[in-house]
């Protein structure tokens, strides 16, 4: 189910502004890959091209190829809607749908496009997804309460459950713990470790310790100055990036000399 991601000569634009230049990266299935780098280096921008969410912003587009198990998601005739169903995304701030209950939030991916299912099927999906997000025990007695009534960490795990429910092959996470307290962060990090058994997980993080804790491979992005495009500087096993980086910029960043 998990799929390999290959970016080939990818350039990402906001209008005329080239935000990320010439990214080539191979991300293995059933692994956790972290993107690190200073603010504005384009790691989130690149992440959002992997499920074609980048182009939702007016004037934004990407050139080049992103291959999911060899299939170019920027190919002609590819519907971004189908790409997004295949590549799930968890956002920086927890964003459960406020008008829906916990149960409806988990089923949102199905409800959105009007998929009909029996109540028992729906119940099974809700339980499986919430268990998969380590949230079932905390919310099983209040599935009909609004999702916005949960704590921040619970809301974020609800969002992960919502993403997992539609059974994507890739899960993208854009700084999923930056709005959470340390305990909730730990819960989400544990969850990320479990998710990689079934999914390809890509996570953007500002927190280098987090990258070191959860990621198998780490990619370092950097920017030469304001107005310059962000670039992929180094991509290697996490342990090498942190203990034996080949590039001086990476060395400076992970040792805390800037960023």
């Amino acid at each position: 189910m998990a799929k390999r991601i290959d970016a080939v000569d990818l350039n990402v634009y906001y209008g005329k502004f080239l935000a990320v230049e010439d990214v080539n990266i191979k991300i293995e299935p059933r692994s956790v890959t972290a993107f690190i780098g200073p603010s504005g280096c384009g790691k989130t921008t690149f992440l959002r091209t992997i499920n074609r969410m980048h182009e939702v912003l007016p004037g934004a587009y990407a050139e080049g190829e992103i291959l999911l198990d060899g299939e170019n998601i920027y190919g002609p005739g590819v519907d971004p809607v189908n790409v997004r169903a295949e590549v799930g995304m968890v956002f920086q701030r927890p964003n459960p749908f406020p008008t829906m209950s916990i149960r409806e939030n988990v089923l949102a991916g199905y409800r959105l496009n009007g998929t009909r299912m029996s109540k028992s099927d729906a119940d099974a999906i809700v339980e499986k997804s919430l268990r998969g997000a380590n949230l079932w025990n905390e919310v099983k007695d209040r599935l009909d309460k609004p999702g916005s009534g949960l704590s921040g960490g619970q809301q974020q795990r609800l969002c992960i459950a919502r993403t997992v429910a539609v059974e994507p092959s890739v899960i993208l996470m854009d700084e999923p713990c930056s709005a959470l307290d340390p305990i909730s962060t730990l819960a989400v990090e544990d969850l990320i470790n479990e998710l990689k058994e079934n999914y390809t997980v890509v996570i953007v993080t500002h927190n280098m310790q987090q990258a070191a804790r959860v990621a198998d491979r780490t990619a370092f992005f950097n920017i030469q100055g304001t107005g310059k495009p962000g670039k992929l500087i180094e991509y290697d096993d996490t342990i090498n990036i942190f203990q034996n980086p080949q590039n001086e910029q990476t060395q400076n960043y992970v040792s805390g000399r800037f960023g």
Partner: protein, 332 residues
């Protein structure tokens, strides 16, 4: 709304007063400014209640002779009918029917236009379309009335003929279709055009405020644009849509000139396509008030009181609808 504001601002200065002298702002700043603002807010809130109370008192006292002629007047009954209810119920019916026609036509169109401007149109089209819609609101109602009478009414005549021919079994389209088009249905259409801008611009304001976070959440789950709108924009805007429709309804209920010019009034009838049938309260008042005195004047003011009550009831129902789903509104 007002109460909330005043409650907050009046409680704010209290801790400042009890603070030790070293922390005081020196007289000119914070605390006294807070008190002034709190006073202004109180005053504004109070003023609206006072004005409303005076209007209500005026309406009730002036209406009493018509509402209860044996006690408050020297006549046994009102002059236009046997009882006041006999007089006012047909008028209320006409008013409500015309407004409902207007809402049925205007609401879907307005929501559609607002959605187009906020979520579908490219910016260089959306902005001018928004201006044009706002411009519609600036046209005086008498102009709408004249347009309805001269242009719209004759244009609708063949449609009424068709409706009568094919749907004549419904009471709304029974009776002789009008040859001039000056019917309650035409009034409803004119009202729809009049309330379109207010509903559209309010809905647009609310639609664009849908949190990007939620829209992106839906899109990232594989929603199409329309599915995203249904899952995030509409639920978020629900209360706002209801409020804007109620504002539109308020305008339709109270609209005088347009209806007076378009409608050729008469007795109440369910048939919407016949001339010389139906009347609305505001146009009834406008047509008759200049020459009315004594009991007749009381009747008209009492009819105005009924309109006041209808509007009040409509607004309360709207608030109730909005508050039913508070828990899921996203405000928490």
């Amino acid at each position: 709304m007002t109460e909330k504001v005043t409650a907050h601002s009046s409680s704010a200065p209290a801790p400042a007063r009890s603070a030790p002298s070293g922390l005081q702002t020196g007289g000119t700043g914070g605390a006294s400014g807070d008190r002034v603002f709190s006073g202004l807010a109180y005053g504004a809130g109070g003023l609206i209640l006072v004005v409303l109370a005076f209007v209500a008192i005026f309406l009730v006292t002036e209406s009493l002779p018509a509402l209860w002629p044996t006690v408050f007047s020297d006549q046994d009954s009102i002059s236009s009918a046997d009882t006041f209810l006999q007089y006012v119920l047909p008028l209320m019916g006409g008013t409500i029917i015309a407004s409902i026609i207007a809402l049925i036509i205007a609401t879907p169109v307005a929501v559609g236009i607002a959605l187009y401007i906020s979520h579908y149109a490219p910016r260089r089209i959306a902005t001018p379309v928004g201006y044009v819609i706002d411009l519609l609101a600036a046209i005086p109602s008498v102009v709408y009335g004249a347009w309805g009478m001269v242009t719209l009414a004759p244009a609708l005549v063949p449609i009424y003929g068709w409706l009568h021919e094919h749907l004549g079994f419904l009471p709304f389209f029974a009776g002789d279709p009008s040859t001039t088009g000056r019917t309650l249905a035409t009034s409803g259409v004119v009202l729809a055009v009049m309330i379109l801008p207010i509903i559209t611009s309010l809905c647009r304001e609310i639609f664009v405020q849908t949190p990007k976070l939620h829209e992106e959440a839906a899109l990232a789950l594989g929603a199409t644009q329309w599915e995203m709108v249904r899952a995030t924009v509409f639920p978020f805007a629900r209360a706002g849509i209801v409020s804007s429709v109620m504002l539109g309804l308020g305008r339709a209920l109270g609209e005088t000139m347009a209806v007076t010019l378009v409608l050729s009034p008469g007795v109440f009838s369910l048939s919407l396509i016949t001339s010389g049938r139906n009347a609305t309260i505001p146009s009834e008042i406008a047509l008759n008030f200049p020459e009315a005195f004594g009991m007749r004047q009381s009747e008209l003011i009492a009819a105005g009181l009924m309109l006041f009550i209808i509007t009040l009831a409509v607004n309360m129902i709207a608030r109730w609808i909005v508050s039913r789903h508070k828990e899921f509104s996203g405000a928490n």
